[in-house]
């Protein structure tokens, strides 16, 4: 489903180019459960933004479901995000003035789905995350775990193919964090491709495929049990100058 070939992403800081991702190649199958791990500054956030089409690579090729994203217009990328990709963020990113139901409804509002159908799908999505009782509460009336569940309901309400979770448990206590992980793993078992970006090994180790990044390169790519060394980065190189 996802094919990255020679992906580069270079930022310009103070007039000097700083590479965040160096020649990264990666293929992720539909329905897989992948974690991307690494210390801060390793490029995992950059990779997540590229995968989510929030950012464009400075070089290389990214094909989503066989389609080259570099050739897509901004509007095309917006459509791709709307229909194919759901996001879950560390800080939930709920709109504070909207109720839980209003937040879940948001993607459908902008997609032009009619109100009657929206109500039905909001209800279904809230049911999946077990929050139908809290539908009319605003974010400040919800606990952190509940807020993240609302965010997950919002991420899946458009029935995307891919769920991108960026430190989904980073802002939660461990009990709520476990609930959240269980929730999205359950969705993965029903066929949703799941990519979790985290620096927390307890979360990352649960994935079937674990990709370790350091200094913008894949240093390890292991699949539950057997470890596969990355051909691109044997051993790990000294960090950038």
């Amino acid at each position: 489903m996802i094919q990255l070939a020679g992906i580069q992403r270079t930022y310009t800081v103070g007039g000097r180019p700083v590479p965040a991702l160096k020649e990264l190649s990666l293929t992720i199958e539909a329905g897989d459960y992948v974690s991307i791990m690494g210390p801060s500054g390793s490029g995992k956030s950059t990779l997540m933004h590229l995968l989510g089409c929030l950012d464009r690579p400075t070089g290389g090729s990214y094909r989503f479901a066989g389609e080259e994203t570099a050739r897509m217009t901004e509007a095309g990328l917006s459509r791709l995000r709307r229909h194919q990709i759901g996001f879950v963020f560390q800080f939930f990113h709920l709109v504070p003035r909207l109720t839980a139901a209003g937040n879940v409804e948001l993607p459908m509002v902008f997609a032009g789905i009619l109100p009657a159908e929206r109500r039905q799908r909001v209800w279904n999505a809230l049911e999946k995350v077990g929050l139908t009782q809290r539908a009319s509460h605003r974010p400040d009336q919800l606990s952190g775990g509940e807020q993240q569940r609302v965010a997950i309901a919002r991420a899946v309400v458009m029935s995307p193919a891919l769920l991108l979770a960026d430190e989904p448990t980073g802002n939660l206590d461990s009990a709520s964090g476990r609930e959240i992980v269980n929730l999205i793993e359950g969705m993965n078992r029903q066929g949703l491709t799941l990519i979790v970006v985290t620096h927390d090994p307890r979360v990352g180790e649960r994935a079937r495929r674990r990709i370790h990044l350091r200094d913008g390169e894949v240093v390890a790519d292991e699949r539950a049990g057997s470890a596969i060394e990355s051909p691109a980065a044997p051993g790990g190189q000294p960090s950038r100058a």
Binding site: R82, F87, F110
Partner: protein
């Protein structure tokens, strides 16, 4: 995306910061209210003046001796205009059927004295018909005699009467005007200034007497009243033809119609109203800046929200639309509020000063509303584009606010 959903979402954004939204809305409201109120006053002034003219009778011809025109060559023979005479006035009444009344006027200034009291007055030589033509009311006594006599009688304006004969009945008393003595036969009811002449400060005497008093052969002007049904232009031409014939074929008089004077006043006061509207429109522009400011703050406060919208697939155009609609809601609501406030203030002034018509011209109401809507759209463009151009990654990375 459906329009109703867009309106609902944008209105929700405004409810997020009520006080700020309300204050910027108030700015537009004040702008629109001032446009409505100031143009109401300007329009009121116009209606008031035209009303004054109408009270004089708009079916009036004013005939003035002399003609102002530019010709190619200086005439070799002097063409000094003929005097306008009482006979001219009589001929107009006789020969132009549409003319129902004429008032030949001779005007001069002289000192008037009664006993020890003395003051400068404007002396108007007139006939009985002036009473009807200018719709004058008598406070006491009667007006000048109908015939063309040169009797030594006079009618006093209200103020002249107060000053020459304080606390006593002037009827039958003698007034010295210039070198002559006149018997007071009437006093005109107070009326105030009416187009160029304060009738309260005037002494009226028979026109023949006035011509002799000032030793003049020609009239100051002739007022001719025509029937309400008659055509002003045609009558003007007919009157001109009569006078040309009487003045040896020369067109040496100028005829002013009340219409022309009215049109001039209309023009001047219309321009005044437009100028007032322009001044008030400045405050609308300032209100627009207020909206822009509020929207810019709103965009920067809601950076994270914009980032989220982009992440869930909201397009550039949709983000622009959300913030433009917010600005348009602010300015339209402010415009409506201002319209109501302006009309209300107009009503209040009308209640305070019932004689002065306060009425907003329809064009000003439409323009104020139209402009206030477009103010929101125009001043909303910059903030909306700022929002839509936000980099979603950076927008989402913002921790708070």
């Amino acid at each position: 995306m459906k329009l109703a959903d867009l309106l609902h979402f944008s209105a929700g954004g405004l409810r997020g910061h009520r006080l700020r939204s309300f204050l910027s809305l108030l700015g537009v409201a004040i702008g629109v209210a001032s446009v409505v109120l100031l143009t109401s006053l300007g329009e009121g002034a116009r209606l008031y003046v035209t009303g004054e003219f109408a009270s004089l009778g708009s079916n009036l011809l004013i005939i003035i001796p002399g003609k102002t025109e530019t010709k190619g060559l200086a005439p070799l023979v002097s063409t000094a205009p003929h005097d306008l005479t009482r006979q001219d006035a009589a001929a107009l009444l006789q020969r132009v059927p549409a003319i129902r009344r004429v008032a030949p006027l001779a005007v001069g200034t002289a000192s008037a004295s009664a006993g020890e009291r003395r003051r400068e007055v404007t002396v108007v030589g007139a006939t009985r018909d002036l009473l009807e033509i200018r719709h004058l009311q008598m406070a006491s006594g009667r007006f000048l005699p109908r015939d063309a006599s040169d009797a030594a009688v006079c009618v006093l304006g209200a103020k002249v009467q107060r000053e020459l004969f304080p606390d006593q009945n002037p009827l039958g008393q003698l007034v010295r005007i210039g070198e002559w003595r006149f018997r007071v036969i009437g006093v005109i009811a107070p009326r105030g200034t009416s187009i160029g002449m304060d009738l309260d400060q005037v002494v009226e005497i028979p026109v023949a007497t006035a011509l002799r008093l000032f030793n003049r052969s020609g009239l100051f002007r002739i007022l001719a009243e025509i029937g309400a049904q008659d055509d002003l232009r045609k009558t003007e031409q007919a009157a001109l033809a009569v006078l040309r014939e009487r003045h040896a074929g020369q067109e040496d008089v100028t005829i002013i119609t009340q219409d022309a004077v009215l049109a001039t006043f209309n023009q001047i006061l219309g321009a005044l109203t437009a100028a007032l509207a322009g001044i008030a429109a400045i405050s609308l522009g300032v209100a627009g800046l207020g909206i822009m400011n509020v929207m810019l703050v709103s965009v920067s406060e809601r950076t994270r929200e914009v980032g989220l919208l982009k992440a869930i697939g909201v397009t550039y155009g949709q983000v622009v639309a959300v913030f433009l609609v917010e600005a348009a809601i602010l300015s339209t609501a402010g415009g409506s509020l201002g319209l109501v406030a302006g009309l209300g203030a107009g009503r209040f002034l009308q209640w305070l000063y019932p004689d002065f018509p306060v009425q907003p011209p329809p064009w000003a109401v439409a323009a104020a509303l139209g402009v206030s809507c477009s103010v929101g759209l125009i001043f909303g463009i910059l903030p909306a584009r700022n929002a839509a151009r936000l980099n979603p990654v950076q927008a989402l990375m913002r921790r708070k606010a």
